[in-house]
Each structure stands twice: as C-alpha cells, then as structure tokens.
C-alpha cells in the first residue's frame, strides 16, 4: 500500500475522511469557451496564501515602531539572507492580488455568476475585496517611508470627511489627531491580526458557498453547453482542473520571482513628519480612481463640501456594488432588465480604468 493510502485510511477510520472529502472529489467544473475565467478565483486565493506566508516571514524581523520600522525593513532587505526576496514578493504579490481580485470580480459580474442562488457568494466576495483594499492601505504604511506617510495622511484625511462620524473615524484610524507612531502601531494591528481574522472567516464562508453551489454556467454559453453531450461538458475538479490550476500557480510564482529579482520594491527615505509633503503624492494604483475623482469634484457642490459628496458617493457606490445581485430579478423579463447589471459593470470598469490612467498621467 502506498504511503498516501495508509494515511488516508488512518484519517478515514477516525474522521470519516472519505465522506468529508467526497464533495471535493465529485466537484465538477463546466467546460466551455469561457472556462478560462474560472482560474482567477484560485489565483487570487493562491496569492493570498503567498501573502500570509511572506507576511509571517516578515513578522520575524519587522518592528512596528516609528523609530525602528523603516530601519527594520532596510535590515530585512539588506542584512537578512533572501530578505530582499521575501519583501519584494510580499509587495508585488499584494499588487498582483488586487489585480486578480478585480479581474475575478468583474469576470463573475459579466459571466453573471452572482445570480440566484449565489447572491451571498457575491456579497462575501465584495466584502473580501474591501478587506483586500484595507490590507493594502494598512500594509502600505508599515515601512514608514515618506510616500507611505503622506499617502496615509491624505487617505485618513478623506475618511475624516464622512458626515457625522468623520472626526471620530479619523481619530480611530490615526490613533490621534495626526499620523504618528500610534497610527503605525494601529495599522500594524489591523494588518496582521484584525483583517486576517475577518478575512479568514469571510474566505471560509466564500469557499464553502462555492463548494455548495458549484460553478455556475454563464448565460452566454448556456445554450451550447446544454446541447453538448453530458459526458463531455464537465471536467473533474480533482485532479484535472486542479492540475491546470497548479500550472497557473507556478506561472504566478515565476512572475513574482522575476519581478522581485529584476524590479525589487524600493524603500525610499524614512518618513519625516516635519518635512513638507513632496509634490505629486499619489496613493497606490488601486485607490487612484477614487483619489482622482475626489480631485475633480469642485470644492463645493450647492451647500455641501465637495469631498463629503465624493466620500458619500463612493460609500453609496460600494453599498450598491455589494448588493448588485439583488438588483436583478431571478428571471429578468425585459431585455433592458437583463442588461442592467452588465451595463453597470461596463460603466464601473470603464470608469475605474480611465480614472486610474488619468490619475497616473495627472501631476
């Protein structure tokens, strides 16, 4: 008997291993011309796992105090063996994960996988996306360099614009009135404890729901899909799809390694709270579309502050986004109704893409 079989039987005798893993073994993935989009969720998960692993490694040396944070990151990248690799992979993977998360979300939207019964999968997914942005925002401050310091200052300033609770929110985020070592400590706590905890729970629910409901077939290929013989139209998840998924994961690893070695993530200068802000402070690219929008809103709209309008608008947009599946009836009747969500999706994608590019080009 092979080693695997011995372990499997041992587990099965005690935990009913075969029964537990049965759904996984019988899981199927629909095969059609749009199947490639199914990889994105797995890649995002893989990159998240990379983040957790490299994050834990970084935790071994990182020190979350204003006096030592920058120096500890410099120590990691220069003194620790392969520290440069771990750190650069962590930074690059964060960006790549945001990209694949957005891609995964939009592919789900356009392939209409959010339809009944998968509404909550979408909701948990949207929340995971917001969490990911929170991870990005909190993590970005941790090296305590000039860019991060001022980006955080601007970002938390915007949070302070929320009506009624804005001031409290700002003080809560910053750990005080200004961005200081207290902010760093707080962001560190969010980044390594609070957000991972919430993310684990949400991710667990998200994956369970995916397991429960199976992979959805997009309406665009539904007709042809059901015309094809039942025998050939689905692929077993384990091991066939998983092996293909592993190809994607290995490619992602290769890309990350290449990025880390050829274009290592810089550190910049240590933050000096008393120095003036350098010109052209911009947040990370996944915040750029919001940042650019805020810059374009006039300072006063009727009697309301421009920034407040912007914050409220994005808040509303976020809520709308999270509740997208509920905008569509299960069996949409009219052509118009059918296209509503896709239309919103196209608009959102175009807006985000163009505002991001605009944000990059603007000074």
């Amino acid at each position: 008997m092979s080693g695997f079989a011995i372990v499997r039987d041992w587990l099965d005798e005690r935990f009913g291993w075969a029964e537990l893993t049965a759904p996984l073994r019988h899981k199927k993935v629909p095969m059609h011309r749009l199947s490639y989009w199914y990889f994105l969720g797995g890649i995002t998960l893989f990159l998240f796992i990379i983040q957790v692993c490299t994050g834990i490694l970084l935790l071994l040396y990182y020190r979350p105090s204003a006096n030592e944070a920058w120096e500890s990151v410099q120590y990691i990248t220069t003194q620790v063996q392969f520290g440069w690799l771990v750190r650069s992979i962590h930074s690059w993977s964060a960006n790549l994960m945001m990209l694949t998360a957005f891609a995964h979300m939009f592919s789900v939207l356009f392939l209409k996988s959010y339809r009944k019964p998968r509404e909550l999968t979408w909701v948990t997914g949207a929340l995971l996306l917001f969490l990911a942005m929170g991870f990005g925002f909190s993590g970005y401050l941790l090296p305590w360099n000039t860019l991060a310091f001022f980006a955080t200052k601007v970002g938390t300033e915007v949070a302070g614009q929320v009506p009624f609770i804005g001031k409290w929110l700002l003080i809560f985020l910053r750990g005080g009135e200004d961005v200081t070592g207290a902010t760093l400590g707080r962001f560190f706590g969010f980044h390594v404890a609070v957000l991972p905890g919430i993310a684990t729970v949400l991710l667990g629910i998200h994956l369970l729901l995916v397991q429960k409901f199976g992979i959805s077939v997009p309406p665009a290929v539904e007709k042809d899909f059901y015309l094809a013989p039942e025998s050939t139209r689905e692929m077993r998840f384990f091991p066939n799809f998983l092996l293909r998924e592993m190809i994607a994961w290995y490619i992602a690893l290769g890309v990350l390694g290449a990025l880390a070695a050829l274009s290592p993530w810089g550190l910049g200068a240590k933050a000096d709270p008393f120095a003036p802000a350098p010109a052209g402070i911009k947040p990370e690219w996944y915040f750029l579309f919001m940042f650019q929008t805020l810059k374009l809103i006039p300072s006063k709209l009727w009697f309301i502050d421009g920034e407040v309008v912007g914050v409220l608008a994005f808040g509303a947009a976020g809520m709308l986004w999270m509740l997208l599946p509920f905008l569509e009836r299960p069996q949409p009747q009219s052509q118009w109704a059918r296209l509503l969500i896709s239309g919103i999706g196209v608009f959102a994608l175009a807006y985000i893409a163009s505002m991001t590019v605009y944000g990059y080009m603007a000074k």
Binding site: L57, S65, Y75, Q81, R236, P239
Partner: protein, 164 residues
C-alpha cells in the same frame, strides 16, 4: 484516472500496457517528481536561510551606540557612524557629552573637534562651530544638527531628536 464520467471516450485510444506508454509515463513521472522537488527546493532554500538570523543584529535606526564609557578622554572627540552619515561625539572638558552631525553645513566636509580651541573645526575652509553646533566663524551658513546623548550603563547612546 478518468477525466470524464462516461466510459466511452471519443478519439484515438491506446493500449495501456504498450511499452512506449510505460516509458512515456515514467518520463512524465520523473519530470513531475523532479520538477516538484527542484521547485520546492528553490522555494524552501531561501526560506530556511531567511529564518536564520544574520550576524549583524543592530538595525540602525534613530539610536546608535556611539562609543563606550572610557573610549574618549576629556576634551576629545570621535567620529561615529549614524545611519549613513558621520556623527561627532565629544566629551567636553567639563565631563559633558555632546553629539552632533559631523557634516559641515558649508560644503559637506567632515568636521572634527579641536581640543585646543574647544570648538568644532572644519579643515576644508576653516569653519568653526561651538559645542552647541552654532556656526560661529567662517563660511558655514547654518549650525550643525544636534543629537541627544545619554549614557546607558557602559554604552554612550546617541539618538536623533525626533518624536516617537
């Protein structure tokens, strides 16, 4: 193992036991096993090296141990490294320690302490600073940046004047 549930598979079918099949399968298994091992090694090796702490444990930072008690005689100075810049530690004639940036504010030469003048002197263009860093004579346009000094046991610790 089968990809599809049904038994009938369209297309060309090969006999399982044919020799070229076995050889081919072995080749793929070796490739896969070897690739798995090699790629895993190329990931594990850096991680193992990473978790072993490096010899230099001082991370630099806003504080540095500039010297030990007894290194300096009264009315002498010593250059020490502070981050990537030189610093000057002086033990005054009165027993007080002073620490300042050693980069002259004129043209960035490294200054030194002159015991005979009780002042800090820049050899490049004869600039002079007092022990509080003030530029008192010669071309330097600005004072030298001061650092905090305190003695911690046997060590003389110099820290930048910054907020926590």
């Amino acid at each position: 193992m089968q990809m599809f549930e049904a038994t009938g598979v369209p297309g060309h079918q090969r006999a399982e036991g044919a020799p070229e099949n076995r050889g081919r399968r072995r080749f793929v298994q070796v490739l896969l096993g070897g690739g798995l091992l090699a790629s895993a090694a190329s990931f594990i090796y850096p991680v193992l090296r990473y978790i072993i702490p490096p010899p230099a444990t001082d991370m630099g930072g806003d504080t540095v141990v500039a010297a030990r008690v007894g290194d300096l005689k009264p009315n002498t100075g010593k250059i020490f490294r502070f981050g990537s810049r030189p610093g000057l530690l002086i033990l005054g004639a009165d027993g007080e320690y002073h620490a300042l940036s050693a980069t002259c504010t004129h043209l960035s030469c490294t200054v030194q302490y002159r015991g005979d003048l009780h002042q800090i002197w820049c050899a490049c263009h004869n600039g002079l600073y007092d022990l509080a860093g003030r530029n008192v004579s010669g071309p330097p346009p600005r004072p030298l940046q001061l650092f905090d000094v305190h003695v911690r046991g046997e060590e003389i610790v110099v820290a930048r004047k910054r907020e926590a």
